[in-house]
């Protein structure tokens, strides 16, 4: 079990989540459900996630089978360098992308799946040197608490109620974003102070 590269599964899960986000988004937009604009966001987020996750990363041990046609995307993904290579960045990115889609029933499945993929990436990005049992649990707990607080904050901001105008959403989203940055960069000299 020690040699399992969980990131490979996280990649499959994230790709599937991207497709689910796109499907949910199309259904919500086509059906003009209440708050259907979250559906439109979901389509864009889903396409972005699919494009990012389509190139399969190279395994540390053994040969890797490339996905059909992935070389076209690989060159684009590589342009962003460490942003896309680093699994911690991916984990946080997926978590943030998944939150807005959680406000609409049609796309909430995509949120859950993308959040799970984000969780697996987070598990992988803990460096092996620190991967002792207790340290891992502590890190996981802290990350879990941060994610939970972030989600609670996001829900508090929108309170499961309909937002009558898109423009009302902007201050709430800004607040949520600042909270997100603060939570994940606590201790950094330039972190926003809550």
């Amino acid at each position: 079990m020690g040699q399992i590269e969980w990131a490979m599964w996280a990649n499959e899960q994230a790709l599937a989540s991207g497709l689910i986000l796109i499907t949910g988004g199309i259904v919500a937009t086509a059906g003009r459900f209440t708050q259907w604009y979250f559906g439109a966001y979901s389509i864009v987020a889903g396409v972005f996630v699919c494009l990012l996750e389509y190139p399969r990363g190279k395994r540390k041990k053994g040969s890797t089978m490339e996905r059909w046609g992935q070389k076209y995307m690989t060159s684009v993904v590589k342009l962003f360098g460490p942003l896309t290579r680093n699994y911690y960045v991916r984990a946080v990115l997926h978590l943030l992308l998944s939150v807005p889609a959680g406000f609409l029933l049609a796309t909430i499945l995509g949120t859950a799946c993308l959040a799970i993929a984000s969780g697996i990436y987070l598990l992988v990005s803990v460096p092996p040197a620190h991967r002792g049992k207790r340290t891992l649990n502590q890190t996981q707990c802290v990350c879990g608490v941060k994610c939970a607080v972030l989600s609670a904050c996001a829900f508090h901001v929108c309170k499961w109620s309909s937002v009558s105008r898109l423009i009302d959403l902007i201050p709430s989203s800004c607040q949520a974003l600042i909270w997100a940055v603060a939570l994940f960069s606590r201790g950094h000299p330039h972190a926003p102070w809550l």
Partner: protein
């Protein structure tokens, strides 16, 4: 094309019947919900998406019933054994159990998508009709009370105007179980892709146990009775076709039509999945019980090239050629079970497996057995389970192809032939065997060498040299080996293996081999058995199709692939 049809007609028929049943169930349920009077008022709010959701639900029930059956290994082995009177083609279908399991899984995914999309529309329409205040039919229907004292005959599950669909989803049994089931399904599917399965089997195996949540969720999904239809009484009092247009007057005393009353459907998923779940539970209990029986290791042999041979005994264990067992070593990993083909013959008084170092578990096992001074680790065994190789003696002519470690099932077969000859078993249908072993390195030959040498001698003594025709191919050759072989060309035995048959270098030319066999046995049925990579399977399958004659009386090649 003709050969493909002859070889695959049963699979095609089986799949056509399965697809046909799916289509039939979908259309039947769709029409029922679109036309039934019971759902007249429900359709007024929801439209055709009600029928869509219910039709896909019925297909989901049907496919969930089927999905557990192909993975009941013991049941399939039992069917194989009892159906020995069935034709070869029928028994071959049991080889494709995993393919069928995957197809049913894809169908479940498709119907889940249809079901969820239809219900998203349903919830949205319920929500809108709850919020409508224009006194239309839908708003009156939606306002039917949830109050239990007034009969609880509501239609719209959304009780209050400010209740969001998300709230209803996560607080109703149907919604919550639906979400849990779908997430379990998605996790199972993403961890079951070919890449993950082949590279990190444990991820697949442990995640796949989420099916327990899927089955449990499916069983209780319909308990809430969220799909409502009009009661019989209510229809008798006031038929919807007559009363629907007078909805504004339902509350008036002198109107013949009363407010319609609704009731939920009783859950029916459990009826579909109960039997397969019980069968599967029996299967797992049987596997566990068999694994608890004591296994005595009688001999441990360490072969070159890191191949470990274990000879074992277990009370009540009986096997056939080419079967496999699952092995567990609690001291290495308590929950991992790995399949290994049996390399001993049924006539021997022990059963053996050859294990090659190919990953974490196997390397740890070999290391544990290499320790000279610590006690031998305990082994648990489950099985044996049957595969296509049980059929090898039913063919007049058998072509056995093993690539690398894929030769192990054939070790069992060849040993069995040796014993059958010793007992002069005249019931043996097989008249000739062509054996091809394709291997990369010479070191891996050694444990098989002894077997082939003894077989060579045996054949000579019994005067049946022509019975077993074997060719060995070394694909990882270099110019040194070839040079050495060329120098020793005249020697009677091969310099690499010590066998009478010379080793060939490179890959076999299958076209030549097949045409030779076809011309030597123009009227026989030839069984081709492969244990090896997919690419080799493709070329062998192609050759089987090409060299099988369309006339059923002439030579026929049947292809069987071993798969785990």
């Amino acid at each position: 094309m003709g050969n493909w049809v002859v070889n695959h007609w049963f699979s095609v028929l089986f799949l056509a019947v399965w697809l046909g049943l799916n289509v039939f169930l979908f259309v039947d349920a769709f029409l029922k919900y679109e036309t039934a009077d019971r759902y007249y008022y429900t359709r007024k709010i929801l439209g055709s998406t009600l029928a869509c959701a219910r039709a896909s639900a019925l297909c989901l029930n049907f496919n969930s019933m089927l999905i557990l059956l192909p993975v009941c290994r013991s049941l399939l082995s039992f069917l194989r054994g009892t159906c020995s009177f069935c034709s070869r083609t029928l028994r071959k279908q049991l080889d494709h159990n995993l393919t069928f399991h995957k197809l049913v899984a894809y169908m479940i995914c498709l119907h889940t998508a249809i079901h969820i999309i239809a219900h998203l529309f349903n919830f949205d329409r319920y929500s809108r009709s709850r919020q409508a205040t224009d006194g239309s039919l839908v708003s009156i229907l939606s306002s039917l009370s949830h109050d239990e004292t007034k009969g609880g005959s509501w239609l719209n599950p959304i009780q209050f105007r400010n209740m969001t669909v998300e709230y209803v989803t996560f607080t109703s049994i149907a919604g919550l179980t639906g979400v849990i089931m779908t997430i379990a399904l998605i996790l199972m599917v993403t961890s079951a892709t070919e890449f993950i399965r082949r590279s990190y089997f444990e991820v697949f195996w442990y995640t796949h146990h989420l099916f327990i949540f899927y089955i449990l969720g499916l069983g209780i999904h319909g308990i809430g009775g969220i799909v409502r239809g009009q009661t019989e009484e209510s229809i008798n009092e006031g038929h919807p076709h007559k009363c629907a247009e007078y909805f504004e007057m339902w509350d008036d005393h002198d109107c013949r039509c009363r407010r319609p009353e609704f009731e939920g459907q009783p859950p029916e998923s459990w009826k579909w999945i109960l039997a397969p779940v019980i069968l599967y539970i029996c299967e797992r209990i049987l596997r566990f019980y068999r694994s608890q029986q004591k296994v005595v290791i009688t001999k441990v042999v360490m072969h070159p090239s890191k191949v470990l041979e274990l000879q074992m005994n277990k009370r009540g264990f009986s096997m056939e050629v080419g079967q496999y067992i699952f092995v567990n070593c609690p001291s290495i990993s308590p929950l991992e079970w790995h399949p290994f083909t049996l390399t001993s013959a049924p006539e021997e008084d022990f059963f053996s497996i050859h294990i090659r170092a190919a990953g974490d578990w196997t390397e740890n096992l070999i290391r544990a057995f290499e320790q000279q001074y610590s006690p031998i680790p305990r082994i648990e065994v489950d099985g044996p389970f049957g595969t296509a190789n049980e059929d090898v003696f039913q063919y007049e002519v058998a072509v056995l192809v093993g690539a690398g470690i894929g030769v192990t099932p054939f070790a069992s077969i060849l040993k069995s032939i040796w014993y059958k000859f010793q007992c002069a078993d005249h019931n043996l249908k097989t008249k000739k065997i062509y054996f091809y072993w394709i291997c990369r390195e010479t070191g891996a030959f050694s444990w098989f060498n002894d077997l082939l040498t003894s077989l060579e001698q045996e054949m000579e003594e019994l005067g049946k040299v022509g019975f077993l025709n074997y060719r060995l191919f070394l694909t990882g050759w270099d110019s040194n080996i070839v040079g050495h072989a060329a120098l020793n060309f005249d020697k009677a035995t091969d310099i690499l293996t010590g066998l009478k048959q010379k080793t060939s270098f490179g890959r076999p030319m299958w076209d030549n081999e097949f045409s030779t066999i076809a011309t030597s046995h123009p009227k026989s049925v030839v069984g081709v058995f492969l244990c090896g990579p997919q690419t080799l399977a493709k070329s062998l399958r192609k050759c089987c199709h090409r060299y099988s004659s369309l006339d059923p009386r002439k030579v026929q090649f049947y292809f069987n692939k071993e798969n785990f």
